[in-house]
């Protein structure tokens, strides 16, 4: 007897033959081959292991036949092949290398883990999919109630709307009119602007009349105003526009007037410039007053966007006032100057950015009532519609009502980790209170950036609610912009006061303090450092400026960005400002550090 090889080695006594080849070549009776084949197949071993088993069984049956047993007896004594194969396979696998067993155990562990997670996730998915919000309040209806209680003929929007619709073809016919800034009399641009404004005249008169009405009176809806839409989008298929919803999501409420008010503002501003160039101070004043009225109306719109657009319109009115007084002070009579000062005080003075956060909390409460279930105690869990909100806000796809597949799949996990309704609401109010604190605190006293501070509040709260971070930065920028806005308004009043002083005294005062209280109620404060706003008279020309966020007085040398003097700067803390100055405005952590190098000229702005 001679040894061929150990069975533990790879390969086989018969070389690389497969189990099937070993069985076929054995020459054993067919019923025996069938039993061996079935047994070997049932082992579910690796190829060379199966060949080894096949050879052993072939040898076994040959020995039996050699001993004179019949094939039928041997097959009968062998037992059931499949069961035998399974047992042999199981036993043979035990002989494998320990690494294989480690892998197997790891695989089984992973499988159990995956199965466990799948069951858990399935349960979570059922909980998520069966969650439905309870829409208890119709916030749009609540916000619309005062408007609907106002007679239609007292609502300014009903007067603006036909004028805005009728002026649309003229806007298109005089393409490029709204890019004309300050045309010089006699220039082709002046002629073009004049032609456009003459064409607009009847409708601008209607708009000016509308600005005198007490309330804006726009009814919130999530459906486009079809007639207005047709006028502004000639050739559009209005049949495809969605119908209004009885209780619309506030996030989908359309604020169509905003864009039209802004465009009409540009037309009024252009007419003011043309009027002054032609020596018509009255027409310029009327248009500026109309712009201020439009700003006041826009402030009536709920939500932060109303404040933002209102401020933007007011800024145009103030800038136009300041610019025209600087260039053509003689165009305005004393009465007109006084009227401008009085209307700036009245129509924009009381409006503070974000002064009334109620509509914002309404917005949030409406969102929460749709995102979460309601347990009756102010709490609830995230629903599929809640996921839609999160997905739509991230993708800016608010008009696509379908919940993306990825959101359907990730929904249960987000639900498991997301804050509940109560926690989300509390955090939102904390963030609003935080911003209100910054709004009420002078900018020069800040020690932190409100946005970064807000993000820390959100992070420190431990509350997981992704919408909060999407929302927070806009509010921070709003608070910063609000500071510059208030300052611009005060400086515009100071510019009027300077002109009034000059007319009364023959020259500009040496200090702004001399204007108070006769021409100016109070002295503007520089938001950069809390000192009186900077004022200089050089060669008989006045200049009002803020030292800017670098806190260095450059005697009115303007900081520049993209070749133009900067009009606002983002807030900087004192240490960063000092560092920026020391490094010659090269710090790379700022996107454009050079735009902090210099002052912010507030009046006159120049070209």
């Amino acid at each position: 007897m001679s040894q061929i090889h150990s069975s533990g080695a790879a390969g086989s006594a018969g070389g690389d033959a497969t189990a099937e080849e070993v069985i076929t070549k054995s020459g054993l009776p067919s019923d025996v081959q069938t039993v061996i084949g079935a047994t070997v197949r049932s082992t579910r071993l690796w190829k060379y292991e199966r060949a080894d088993v096949a050879r052993e069984l072939v040898a076994h049956f040959r020995d039996g036949l050699d001993r004179g047993e019949s094939a039928a007896d041997l097959v009968a004594r062998f037992g059931e092949p499949k069961a035998a194969g399974r047992r042999m396979g199981k036993a043979a696998r035990e002989k494998r290398h320990w690494l294989w067993h480690v892998q197997k155990r790891a695989g089984q562990g992973a499988l159990i883990l995956v199965a466990g997670l799948a069951v858990t996730y399935g349960a979570l998915w059922i909980r998520f999919a069966t969650g439905s919000p309870t829409i208890a309040r119709n916030f749009a209806a609540e916000l619309n109630a005062p408007t609907l209680a106002t007679p239609e003929n007292e609502r300014a929007w009903t007067a603006y709307r036909p004028a805005i619709m009728d002026i649309q073809p003229l806007y298109r016919a005089h393409e490029g009119w709204d890019n004309i800034e300050t045309p010089a009399p006699g220039s082709p641009e002046f002629a073009k602007a004049k032609e456009a404004i003459n064409a607009f005249a009847p409708y601008l008169a209607q708009i000016r009349a509308a600005t005198e009405m007490p309330t804006f009176g726009y009814v919130l809806s999530d459906s486009f105003d079809r007639e207005l839409y047709r006028a502004t989008h000639p050739g559009a298929q209005i049949a495809d526009l969605p119908p209004p919803t009885e209780n619309p999501r506030l996030v989908l409420v359309l604020l169509e007037p905003m864009q039209h008010m802004r465009r009409a503002t540009r037309a009024l501003a252009l007419e003011s410039r043309l009027a002054v160039a032609e020596g018509d101070g009255q027409r310029a004043t009327d248009n500026i007053v109309a712009m201020l009225g439009m700003a006041r109306h826009t402030f009536d719109m709920p939500f932060l966007i109303g404040d933002l657009v209102g401020i933007a319109i007011a800024q145009v009115a103030w800038a136009t006032t300041g610019d025209l007084i600087a260039r053509h002070p003689e165009a305005f009579t004393d009465v007109q100057l006084a009227r401008l000062a009085q209307r700036i005080e009245r129509d924009s003075g009381s409006n503070e950015f974000f002064a009334d956060p109620k509509s914002e909390t309404d917005f949030m409460d409406d969102t929460l009532q749709r995102m979460f279930t309601d347990d009756g105690n102010g709490d609830g869990r995230l629903t599929p519609e809640g996921m839609w909100y999160l997905a739509a806000i991230n993708d800016n796809s608010m008009w696509d009502n379908k919940l993306p597949t990825t959101s359907q799949l990730t929904g249960p996990a987000v639900m498991a980790f997301s804050a509940g309704r109560k926690e989300a609401r509390e955090l939102y109010h904390d963030v609003l209170d935080h911003y209100a604190g910054y709004r009420n605190k002078p900018m020069w006293t800040w020690t932190q950036n409100p946005d970064e501070h807000a993000l820390r509040i959100i992070d420190d709260s431990g509350t997981v609610f992704p919408m909060m971070k999407v929302l927070a930065p806009a509010l921070g920028n709003t608070v910063i912009a609000g500071n510059w806005t208030r300052l611009n308004r005060e400086v515009t009043l100071a510019a009027i006061a300077l002109e009034q002083h000059k007319r009364a005294n023959g020259s500009y005062p040496a200090t702004l303090a001399e204007l108070v209280p006769r021409y100016l109620q109070s002295l503007p404060t520089d938001i950069a450092d809390g000192q009186p706003i900077r004022y200089r008279v050089s060669d008989g020309r006045p200049l009002i400026y803020s030292i800017g966020m670098d806190r260095v007085d450059n005697e009115g040398r303007p900081a520049m960005k993209d070749g133009k003097p900067v009009q606002t700067q983002t807030w900087l803390d004192i240490q960063s400002a000092a560092q920026l100055v020391a490094q010659g405005f090269t710090a790379t952590r700022f996107e454009d550090p050079k735009h902090y190098d210099g002052d912010v000229v507030l009046w006159p702005r120049g070209d």
Binding site: M1, Q3, H5, S6, S7, A13, A59, H60, R87, K95
Partner: protein, 135 residues
């Protein structure tokens, strides 16, 4: 007489180790020896024997090797390892003690073991009173 499967699970491996104590043997040889030397009591089907051999090999108690016999036929031979020998000695002692205990209870070896197997199947050791045992 055939032995119950549960009992065979305990006795079979010891019997195989005992047969291999003298010399290496191949599968059919073991089947034949178990049947003839035990009067058919440990006559196990091949579908029982081969998994048992693989298990013993996996535990390192026996080792396998392909060898060619004088007839020129290839066979897989199984031989006892050192661990296998130690295990056989230990199991032999236990079996001797068990048989002694059964005898003391009035059961002669094979019958006692058979009854024990039934008892285990029922979840308890059952020795018929009629045979002098306790229940």
């Amino acid at each position: 007489m055939r032995i119950d499967r549960d009992l065979m699970r305990g006795a079979g491996p010891v019997a195989v180790l005992k047969l291999l104590e003298r010399r290496p043997m191949y599968g059919y040889e073991l089947v034949e020896a178990l049947a003839t030397k035990t009067g058919g009591v440990l006559d196990m089907g091949q579908s029982t024997l081969y998994p048992m051999l693989y298990n013993l090999e996996a535990k390192g108690l026996i080792e396998a090797s392909w060898q060619t016999g004088e007839s020129g036929r290839e066979r897989k031979y199984y031989a006892l390892t050192g661990d296998g020998l130690a295990k056989l000695k230990e199991d032999s002692k236990q079996w001797a003690s068990l048989i002694q205990a059964m005898k003391a209870l009035g059961l002669d070896g094979a019958q006692a073991i058979r009854n024990m197997a039934f008892g285990r199947a029922l979840g308890r050791v059952t020795v018929p009173i009629s045979m002098g045992g306790v229940q």
